[in-house]
Symmetry: C3
Subunit: 267 residues, 3 copies
């Protein structure tokens, strides 16, 4: 990072919204630690305290950043409780956030954790640390220190593991997988909790897919496999089953949203 002379990159993902100055405040604190940061917003519109949605959006983004990027993510319903803050070292990036599953899918997408450190070295925090805004007091300054080249081992004790993401699990039966819509994106694509593993038994087999008992056109590889206007299901770049409408909004077409039941059935 700094060794190359390039400005270090810190990305930010939160559920803070952009109507208040919370995100700007995190940036002010980070720039107070290190002035030459390139700060990139992933999104701040994660639904409040929706750790699973934040985790999946974070995973969708991390593969596309240069080596050495520090990703700082804060969706943190447990702020002020005993949950730890962690930094995770991967081959290509560093991730900082609460140890509540938020970072886990992104870490997996980056090839897994080489090391996990607990954020325990309070001299790196903004003092006094509030009970309600660790984004400002803990995660932003730690991310800036790491972007500036701080050895992660200086953050605190190493941990054996990090908390996995607790998604509502898909229910896998002999001929069906039952899941649900976790997130609707800007284009009306429906992101589900049905992951690659749940679908493994159906590989190369003919399946039907329904959303709230309405049929879509089956499981395809890319949007271009179907005609415009057709509903389709595919394994998305998010790593889970996505239901979409080519050149349209599946959410609008089907009249469904977050929580809608999704069933994949062997034909």
């Amino acid at each position: 990072m700094s060794a190359t002379g390039s400005p270090p990159i810190v990305t930010l993902l939160t559920d803070f919204g952009t109507a208040d100055a919370y995100v700007g405040i995190m940036k002010g604190v980070a720039l107070g630690v290190r002035r030459d940061l390139t700060l990139v917003d992933l999104t701040h519109d994660i639904p409040p305290q929706a750790v699973a949605v934040g985790a999946l959006v974070l995973r969708s983004a991390v593969p596309f950043f240069p080596a050495g990027t520090v990703h700082c993510a804060v969706v943190d319903p447990g702020v002020g409780s005993a949950r730890a803050g962690i930094a995770v070292v991967t081959d290509a990036a560093l991730l900082v956030g609460p140890d509540n599953g938020l970072l886990a899918p992104a870490v997996a997408a980056l090839g897994g954790a080489r090391a996990v450190f607990e954020l325990a070295h309070a001299a790196l925090f903004r003092q006094p640390v509030s009970a309600t805004f660790h984004g400002r007091d803990v995660f932003a300054p730690v991310a800036a220190h790491l972007a500036g080249g701080l050895d992660p081992a200086g953050l605190g004790p190493q941990r054996d593991r990090m908390t996995p993401l607790a998604l509502p699990a898909p229910i896998v039966e002999a001929d069906t997988v039952r899941g649900e819509v976790l997130h609707v994106d800007r284009f009306g694509n429906l992101l589900t909790n049905i992951d690659r593993a749940a679908l493994a038994a159906f590989r190369a087999q003919s399946v039907s897919v329904t959303v709230d008992a309405m049929s879509v056109d089956g499981l395809v590889t890319t949007y271009a496999d179907v005609a415009p206007g057709t509903l389709l299901a595919l394994l998305s770049s998010w790593g889970t089953l996505e239901v979409a409408q080519r050149d349209g909004s599946a959410a609008a077409q089907l009249g469904v949203g977050r929580g809608a039941p999704v069933v994949v059935r062997r034909e």
Copy 2:
């Protein structure tokens, strides 16, 4: 650009929204090409696939950026089809995006195209190029390469022309021009498709203006020509007729939105 030692500027305008990480992903890819970019968001809230709105918002912004800025715009309902990607060289800026009319008004506002190149040199793209996200795979990396000083002639073959913007055309008759509201801005100002050319016959003549059959106070030069609370029409910095309320929202006052009919009539 880079010759001056200043960090090169890349602006981004899309219809991707900010609730997902799509824009952040474009920035990650661009920074992977060139680490010292200054990235500026114009807006990402163009209504999905509304090329005309994107084109007009882009035109409104480009005159205000320093020479050498690269503008990367993606409102791209034809992604994955045969539509080309292009880069356009103007006196003051470079523009990158799909060849669907999106760039045309901005290019005109910058004095016209000195050269248009097709984006054909795939070695500059992120590989593999997806069928659905050329913002990430084509336009962002090309914009970053151009910002870094790449000769646009290295992008691909030169073209004679670019696709013009297909706006719903105003209907010009002997004593009237009939158009419609294309966009409502944050302040409730109504942007129409009635352009300077359509109004030329009425120059220096007395006209009436109606929106959805409701009268406004006539065509003036600036907001300050009318009293606070008055509805007015003027030729806006967008280059088209705008209906506004001084110190208020014309959209709220008139109860109209996108698509509302607008008529200019010789009195």
Copy 3:
């Protein structure tokens, strides 16, 4: 700032929204003055022309930025009228904006004004200066000049005072303070106009707090003083009384919004 070799920081707070390119245009103009700025958005979603909300959000953010930051704030219902533009020098930062009270609470939070200058030196503005968009023509270029090291005395004549913020004043009586909700943040916290001074008489006394005649759990010091789900009132980092629900939304729980009456009563 520039003396240290660090890129100078300019923050932006407006009521322009992000659906149009107005904010991007301000950044383009600022970068035209000084290419190496680090531009940080505080928020652009201040309700249109809500000077008091903008002032309080600005105050919430300024203490968290490095020394030398220039804060450029534009919520400006009086644009084009006789209201002056000002720059305010404080110990830790410079502030630029209309002289309508918008900057006053932030200046106080930064320890008060060391000097106030009227923006009168038109050579620093973008010309011609429009009647409607001083963010672009006056405030953004002046902020960039200041970030670049311009002596504020070069902006125009020094002033003895700046316009204070005209908040709807809380009504202080013998045993009660009556105020109202000024702003609801992303988390449903209710920000009121009841400030520290209005509460001074009740210090260390037992009080009850009601919002729209519904009781909350009394005045506490931090969220952690109450059980999850409990409604509470505290003196927030905004400097005024805030009503919140621990791990929830006070706005949703109480069914109230901006303008709701808030009463603090001695028990």
